[in-house]
């Protein structure tokens, strides 16, 4: 399986990433998820901090786990860091597989684990106030269901 993991301030092109995933082999299905900064009232910006090295390692472990559960030909995870404006893309998870079911499920699995395991933290700026986003218990439950 081909795995691409990028942590970067720059934006990404979904078309280019999907094209790269389907350039080789015979993946009949690509499922992708893109997360954006929500446009919420007074939200001025979101700043993302991460734990360099551990982030890449943790996402690679999650991708390996996904590949052990579903027959995948490629996984791409791009996560942006730094300051992002409302509406901006934050994260891309794209999965290539022979059939759609594996692609859909692996994509959801990767996002659930990324949200609960990859060491990123979001700080919101509202007006002149800054505060750290709290983790959601619902995200933990979403990841836990894959243990069943």
């Amino acid at each position: 399986m081909k795995t691409k993991i990028k942590i970067q301030p720059e934006d990404f092109s979904i078309d280019a990433e999907v094209a790269a995933l389907t350039a080789e082999g015979d993946p009949g299905a690509v499922a992708s998820f893109t997360g954006h900064v929500r446009r919420e009232g007074d939200l001025a910006a979101l700043t993302l901090e991460h734990y360099p090295h551990m982030t890449e390692g943790e996402i690679a472990r999650i991708a390996e786990e996904a590949a052990s559960r579903w027959p995948l030909s490629g996984v791409t995870v791009i996560h942006r860091i730094g300051q992002l404006a409302p509406g901006a893309r934050i994260v891309l998870v794209a999965v290539a597989a022979t059939h759609r079911q594996a692609a859909f499920q692996a994509c959801e699995f990767l996002m659930d684990y990324l949200k609960t395991h990859a060491p990123f933290w979001k700080e919101e700026k509202r007006g002149t106030e800054r505060h750290w986003v709290e983790a959601h218990a619902g995200d933990d439950r979403a990841a836990e269901r894959w243990h069943k």
């Binding site: 390692g57 060491p119 990123f120 983790a135």
Partner: protein
């Protein structure tokens, strides 16, 4: 050992990284947290509610009963909020 702090843990302690000689009697993450809490008000505030603190030892998620050694990299941070 190398200690790393992220997000509000970093802000409360007032630094991102520091080196520490393994203190006497510290064998686990929990021992280390108890030791750090006594280093100053910023540390005490950062670790006041241990249920809000997560730890990684050598860049792997760990628990408070995990062992720590002199050459480990130990990171403290809030529950993650990426994605």
């Amino acid at each position: 050992m190398t200690l790393l702090y992220f997000a509000w843990v970093r802000q409360k302690i007032g630094k991102h990284e520091e080196n520490l000689a393994l203190p006497a009697g510290v064998a686990t993450v929990a021992d280390l947290v108890a030791y750090l809490k006594r280093l100053g008000p910023g540390y005490a505030e950062a670790f006041a509610d241990e249920s809000r603190i997560r730890v990684a030892v050598n860049q792997r998620h760990g628990k408070f009963d995990a062992a720590v050694a002199a050459d480990d990299e130990v990171a403290f941070f809030p529950p993650v909020t990426g994605g």
